[in-house]
């Protein structure tokens, strides 16, 4: 809220500190001052009144009280005029309040014989200084009182009230009211309205009705200072998207004891603006709100703040804020004025004392507590391990948005019903919570290729969201995008990365199956069935790797040669293990023999390896596929596989004829299959 420095100064006999200095004091003890701007011979302070203090500090009176407490200066009391009814004249208005829980207090005066005219300069200038347009003396007066006291006022044209009857009640759903800005609002039953004998004349607490507006012809007014339920005003203003300064103030709650002093102040000022005769005073206030008392142990102030503050100082601070304090032994009994509805607990009092005293006076010291070692977070441990492994493999980590849009959903074969939709998405590309990490990774490829990155290896470890049960789970997905892809290199590169990763995580019994089953969490339609493997540990599926289909690639404008892996990280971290055992290094030398074999294209390397391992027995300690070739110089439909076979014994040096024998055994075992031809 913008405050005029001069207006604030008018509350004090002594000079206030300079505007900049005052701004600093307020910032450190009360509210942040966003800016101080010179305007003519005044300064405008833009003060960010905290939401819990808007009830008392959305006004000059409240801010003056606050400033007074900080500077130890007493602000002046506002001059008021008693509301005395002068008999005769106009017919009184019958005012009826239907719900006292929603309208705790309704105070109004009928004033006869006012003259609508331009406001005098002091009124006009002060309002305009804080950005409020001057309209006429009466409207300006209501705004002035709202700024000065924090109590919103409203003036009705008496002559426009039909039947001289006003009913303040909850709206019925479907009722309509036209406000001063000529908007028609269709109401539901949460709104508060005022009705005369025939029609709605006010959208209470938010904006006046057009039909009862004060105009240049107005001669008499009903000046209302009402108290409304903050929830009702808040919800209605929000629903109707009709926010005003009055509705903002009401939304935070207003002290019901403020209505009468505000009208008394208004009447005092009205007499300077042309005056008028009070013909009627209405004050419907069935349940008077009284001040509360809070008991607090004196020691609690220093215990919570961590700084000893003398009890005299505590009492002085609380009293400067207009609290009444009584000490009974080691307790303080503090009476809270009703304009401070934000003060309900001892902790609230500690804050008042702490901030006025100054937090900068609190000297830091470390807590004294028992040594309880922090618990290990195993989730985080495996996340770190996996991320490090991928980083070591040359991958870049990305963080993508947790959302995707219709385009991604459709390309990946998701039906909108299967996805968690956001009610108020930031944009259409973020309409759903992501059900897979892959689409956003593919977008990363597209973007980076436009930036001239040719080889892209990226991964993300993040949450995906599952409609059923609104579940979340961590996935670890990544991809390799290369310009060239000879012999499906990309596939084997990704597979190599996955193998290394699983090895680092200590996941045991990993094997790769051809695409068969319907994967539970990955849409099977995304994988090119011919170039995709299901990753398993024992019998459990832990993820997939392979190429995504051309259809998706085209839809998302992703170039060729993108190989993806998609791992269920929740499963991985359950299977992961830190157990590791050293395998003694044999003291005896190993020997390497090569073997090349020509097999039909559809033969799996795994099957060839199995035969070799079985035939070789335990003296074959490793078999390494170093070349896989199909194409020129080979018979149609065949491929050539070349292996290093490593022979080694733990207890002796293998003799060359022993190795030769074993090697021949392997060759024979392979050649049992008539279509397989060992070439060397």
């Amino acid at each position: 809220m913008k405050f005029s420095y001069n207006w604030l100064q008018s509350f004090f006999k002594e000079k206030l500190p300079k505007p900049e200095k005052l701004a600093d004091i307020l910032t450190m003890h009360s509210f942040e001052v966003e800016s101080v701007v010179k305007k003519g011979n005044d300064f405008i302070l833009d003060i960010d009144i905290l939401p819990n203090r808007s009830q008392d500090c959305f006004s000059y009176q409240g801010l003056a009280r606050e400033v007074g407490a900080l500077l130890n200066k007493k602000p002046k009391k506002l001059e008021q005029e008693k509301l005395l009814v002068e008999k005769g004249g106009l017919e009184p208005v019958k005012i009826e309040v239907r719900s006292s829980s929603i309208i705790p207090r309704y105070t109004a005066i009928l004033i006869e014989g006012i003259k609508i005219k331009k406001s005098p300069d002091w009124l006009k200038n002060n309002l305009e200084a804080v950005g409020i347009r001057s309209i006429n003396n009466i409207v300006d007066l209501t705004n002035w009182i709202m700024l000065e006291t924090g109590q919103p006022l409203h003036a009705f044209d008496y002559d426009k009230i039909f039947g001289k009857k006003m009913v303040v009640r909850m709206a019925r759903a479907g009722e309509r009211v036209i406000t001063l800005d000529e908007k028609t609002h269709k109401l539901d039953d949460g709104a508060i309205i005022i009705e005369d004998q025939e029609r709605l004349i006010d959208l209470a607490g938010i904006m006046g009705g057009k039909v009862s507006e004060v105009t240049n012809e107005t001669k008499s007014i009903i000046l209302q200072a009402a108290n409304f339920d903050r929830r009702s005003i808040y919800i209605t203003a929000k629903k109707l998207n009709q926010k005003t300064q009055a509705s903002d103030i009401y939304s935070q709650g207003v002290d019901p004891n403020l209505t009468k002093p505000a009208l008394e102040r208004a009447y005092f000022l009205l007499n300077k603006l042309g005056g008028g005769k009070i013909r009627q005073v209405v004050d419907i206030y069935p349940k008077k709100i009284k001040s509360r008392k809070i008991k607090i142990n004196i020691g609690y102030f220093s215990s919570l703040l961590g700084r000893e503050i003398p009890v005299k100082r505590i009492t002085d601070i609380l009293e400067s804020l207009e609290f009444k304090v009584k000490q009974i032994k080691s307790d303080l009994i503090v009476e809270i004025p009703t304009f401070r509805a934000d003060i309900n607990l001892g902790e609230d009092l500690v804050e008042e004392v702490g901030r006025v005293y100054g937090y900068e006076a609190i000297k830091p010291f470390f807590p004294v507590s028992s040594l309880i070692p922090p618990k290990r977070n195993i989730n985080l441990f495996w996340e770190n391990k996996a991320k490090d492994a991928l980083k070591e493999a040359g991958f870049n980590e990305v963080y993508n948005y947790s959302f995707f849009g219709d385009k991604e959903a459709e390309s990946f074969g998701y039906n909108p019903q299967e996805l968690i939709e956001i009610k108020n998405p930031a944009n259409i590309e973020q309409k759903y919570l992501r059900a897979t990490l892959i689409p956003n990774l593919l977008k990363n490829v597209q973007k980076n290729q436009d930036l001239n990155f040719k080889e892209i290896s990226i991964f993300e470890l993040g949450k995906i969201f599952i409609k059923k049960g609104l579940a979340e789970k961590r996935m670890l997905s990544g991809l390799v995008s290369t310009i060239q892809n000879k012999k499906n290199e990309g596939f084997y590169e990704v597979k190599g990365v996955v193998e290394t990763l699983l090895n680092k995580l200590g996941v045991a019994d990993v094997w790769y199956d051809e695409f068969k089953a319907t994967p539970e969490d990955t849409k099977n339609t995304i994988w090119n069935r011919k170039k995709c493997a299901e990753i398993k540990s024992s019998q459990e599926e832990i993820g997939f790797l392979g190429e995504i289909t051309q259809t998706i690639r085209k839809k998302l404008e992703v170039p060729e040669n993108v190989f993806v892996f998609d791992l269920d990280f929740e499963k991985l971290s359950k299977l992961a293990s830190e157990e590791q055992e050293y395998r003694p290094i044999s003291q005896y030398p190993s020997a390497i023999r090569d073997l090349a074999i020509l097999v039909p294209q559809n033969v799996k390397v795994d099957d060839v390896l199995n035969i070799m391992e079985q035939a070789g027995g335990k003296l074959v300690i490793d078999i390494d596929l170093f070349d896989m070739y199909e194409g020129e110089n080979l018979p149609d439909g065949k491929k050539n596989l070349a292996f290093h076979i490593i022979y080694q014994a733990e207890d002796r040096t293998l003799k060359s004829n022993e190795i030769n024998k074993l090697h021949q055994k392997i060759v024979k075992a392979l050649e049992k299959n008539p279509e397989w031809e060992v070439r060397c």
Partner: protein, 337 residues
Amino acid sequence: MLKIDLKKLKIEAQKSLKSAKNLKDLDGVFRSYFGKKGEITQAFNLIKDMSKEVRAKFGKDLNNLKRFIEKSIEGKKAIFTKVVPGKEWLDVTAPGKKLSLGHLHPLTVTIRKAIEIFQEMGFTVVEGPEIENEFYNFDALNVPPDHPARDLWDTFWLKDGKMLLRTHTSPVQIHYMEKNNPPLRIIAPGRVFRYEATDASHDVQFYHLEGLMVGKTISVANFIAIIQEFFSRFFGKEVKVRLRPSYFPFVEPGFEVDMSCLTCGGLGCSVCKKTGWLEIMGAGMVHPNVYNACAINSKEWQGFAFGIGLDRLAMMKYKINDIRLFYSGDLRFLEQF
């Protein structure tokens, strides 16, 4: 007795030295004369069997020959080892071979660093769900329904039902306090969401680190000490913090925490808008209603809670000028970390 013609030996030596093309050949020549079974070595072995008169002359000639061959080898070696530009010369100023290294995301690096510091001070790392209900995100944190305070958190809502995307990691506090009794010392880093217009300093998602310490005597002074230590370690220099009053429904008293400017150290510069301070996070002493929501006796326990924006921390540490870079997947950005 074996006779050795030293003259012949000399001629042969000259020949083989001439035909040596490189250091390896030269080494072969050396070994053929001075190795265990080298010619010169063998010739010396013969001396002991010679008669006195022969021995003197032969010894002298042999030593001369030995010196001659050694000198010749040295001479040749100098030729071979001389650097000839264009032949075996290499340009040490040319750049080294580029390795394609992987990189962790700057937020991963930031989160790890923050976790490390808090763990060293005895905080346990806990996590929670990103989809929350109103109870955990608001009610239990003393943000009542239909209260303007809720407008402080612009919230993404799920389409069907009353679930939302957490707007802070504070709900993790509640989950944790429901299951654990004080004393407590936890941090909860994680992804949070806000429904707001994006710009260089705002995005619809970012990372929060919530902290909570509860004990019998935990005070504001303790909070300042812990958080000052954290920032000093995180930024690797002495950092001061100051508290200003603020309002968050789940704490009382509530603070805005400022940190002395990293650029000017508090003297005032353009980064801190001449104030010497940077606004860095919100904090406060846990509100009794929050304890009550978790069935913890607020008369018995007290403590502090705070929430740091990790993206902002990373931006300050690395001087990143746009929060959206974190979620851009742009390799020009990611490869710098």
